[in-house]
Symmetry: C2
Subunit: 371 residues, 2 copies
């Protein structure tokens, strides 16, 4: 993916003003780490903000500095790609609360010690406030579009609701306007897995000598979450009941089945690139997300200031944020009288479909952004 790699290092902006938070506190000295690709035009009106998902980051195109893997959406973003950096100035910022350069629980608090669990609980809207502060400092008054999948879609919707002048278009993939009880339940399992790990130490694991921290708990959290990102059909097609590098079951507790081996790998590799406390904070922000609740209990009210156009995409195999979640948003946008297109795409990959090879999605994205 060398052609897609434009530069290796993300920029970091430190905000001059304290960032107000939904919880009532405000954060001083907030840093926002971001990548930008493609040239910002003189009118500064060709910028697209890409919002990342729970465990994503600003490395949308560039190779990830920790894993060395291609950017998480390198297939979608770049010269001549559906989000075309020959035409658009593409910005992707690490959300606050995360751990790839933006201020989060692993960052130093004013007392010089890591925030850890003293970091304030943040919301999706707080993340969006960070994005808007970044746009302010970049001198971008109005975006061409905001694009996001999963938690990135929540940010897009929140931006549309709370900063309606800041973008002309919103593209929301595999997302929802509120977290369901089942969504919250899966996140709570992950949080409890982390907090049950004695290495978590109430969040104060940053001074540990040798890269420790609650790696086992975080790994279990990731494994549980990962199942929800895939479809049953996809798992059956990819793994079925096939055994891992063996002819016979071992009658033991090794990873006999490929799916076990795969899940263990997913859990383990995640701990090398993600901070456990960030996982707690970001899942909490997602669980708190209920856009209607923020706007008097009626979702359409969230969009009554907007003049933007919208596109929502769901995937038929996504059981985490099923098509009905997207339809609820579409109905609200219709009720608000806004132009919205909606498509449910067929793809076997479950929730992760928005990140994977789904050619129909490429056409939708390219088409919507170039209207």
């Amino acid at each position: 993916m060398a052609t897609a790699q434009i530069h290796d290092e993300s920029e970091v902006l430190e905000l001059d003003e304290p960032l107000p938070l939904d919880g009532g506190q405000s954060l001083s000295g907030v840093r926002i780490a971001y990548e930008a690709h493609g040239k910002l035009n003189a009118a500064k009106d060709n910028a697209i903000l890409i919002c990342h998902a729970l465990t994503g980051d600003q490395y949308v195109v560039s190779n990830h500095p920790k894993t060395g893997k291609p950017g998480w959406w390198a297939r979608m973003v770049g010269p001549g790609k559906p989000i075309d950096t020959n035409k658009f100035h593409v910005i992707c910022a690490n959300v606050i609360g995360s751990c790839m350069g933006s201020t989060g629980p692993a960052s130093l608090a004013p007392d010089g010690e890591p925030w850890a669990m003293r970091f304030p609980v943040i919301t999706i809207r707080d993340m969006v406030r960070g994005h808007v502060a970044l746009l302010d400092s970049l001198g971008i008054e109005q975006l061409h579009a905001v694009v996001g999948g999963s938690m990135g879609g929540m940010q897009a919707l929140s931006l549309a609701a709370n900063f309606p002048e800041r973008s002309r278009a919103f593209l929301v993939l595999a997302s929802t306007a509120r977290h369901s009880a089942q969504n919250i339940a899966f996140h709570e399992v992950g949080r409890q897995a982390i907090m049950a790990d004695p290495e978590w130490q109430e969040g104060n694991y940053y001074h540990a000598d040798e890269g420790r921290g609650p790696e086992k708990g975080l790994s279990v959290a990731r494994m549980a979450a990962h199942i929800t990102y895939l479809s049953e059909e996809g798992l059956t097609a990819k793994f079925g009941r096939r055994l891992q590098d063996r002819e016979q079951k071992t009658f033991g507790f090794d990873a006999d089945f490929q799916i076990e081996s795969y899940l263990r790998y997913q859990g383990l590799s995640f701990t090398g690139r993600f901070d456990a406390n960030s996982y707690l904070y970001i899942t909490r922000a997602m669980d708190y997300f209920d856009l209607a609740e923020e706007h008097g209990g009626r979702l359409a009210n969230a969009f009554c200031q907007s003049k933007a156009r919208f596109c929502l995409v769901s995937f038929d195999s996504d059981w985490l944020y099923p098509t009905s979640d997207s339809r609820n948003v579409v109905k609200a946008l219709n009720a608000a009288g806004l132009p919205v297109s909606f498509v449910e795409l067929s793809a076997p990959f479950g929730h992760d479909s928005f990140l994977l090879e789904v050619p129909a999605l490429d056409h939708v994205v390219e088409g919507f952004l170039n209207q």
Copy 2:
């Protein structure tokens, strides 16, 4: 439920012969704990074997000795109930590998120390061998019926396949003939959660001073599994996004939402009645279960010796063992030329529907057993 309580203590039978296991070993001195209700007739042909699920036990009617709660199927089994103990002699045995009196990892090995992880990995068929040995010792040659939900249904199917003469009828609820990749994945998360807990100590936690053991890991395992037992619709109806004993979100990590509080309670209370190593062994047995594989890869072959009649019941909100799993069994039984009835019942409780108040199920059970 006092009327349903017939006696408090389960019987324990010690097998004279070693029990051969699918893994190639055999177990000596196996104990089978069971409850029996209703009178066995002189012909010994009115017995019904009820097979319990993963975390179930023999206390199908009697109050549970550890929790004090009514038996897990007290609503279904008893005088005048769908499984009528005025007519039938009802037996329910704790599966081997479990922890309520039957031999399992917490039992003492011949060296006088707990088996712990030295206990052999067992299969569903091994559990069934234990049941058949119990029937032998009770002098019951042929059962009126075998009834089981979830893992209990797997035992019923395995008994039908491997001991076709031992029952005239099989009633299989919310079950499957093989564990899918997704089923295995969820179990693997639970096992990893237990094994990640340092209190697990490679399974050697039985000598700990004060009722410890990997309680946190087991609790997380139970939480993850519990989500799969419920339907999204049921969770939404029961909990939605309602807050727990508070008016406002706390912007912290307490259980703000009712679903979080409920899940934490489910996890915690489970650790008081279940052995973590048993959880490892029994989930492993379920993951290994693939009845077709045991019979040359063709499920219909599993039933070619059978002359019994069958009834399969699925629930429309069960996403753990969905209706398609039951249909696969029905097709195989049809291919084997056996009489089978099948119904998908509508119930909002997900996989747990077979345990809960579903009047239509009562009618199916009563009707099938009294044909």
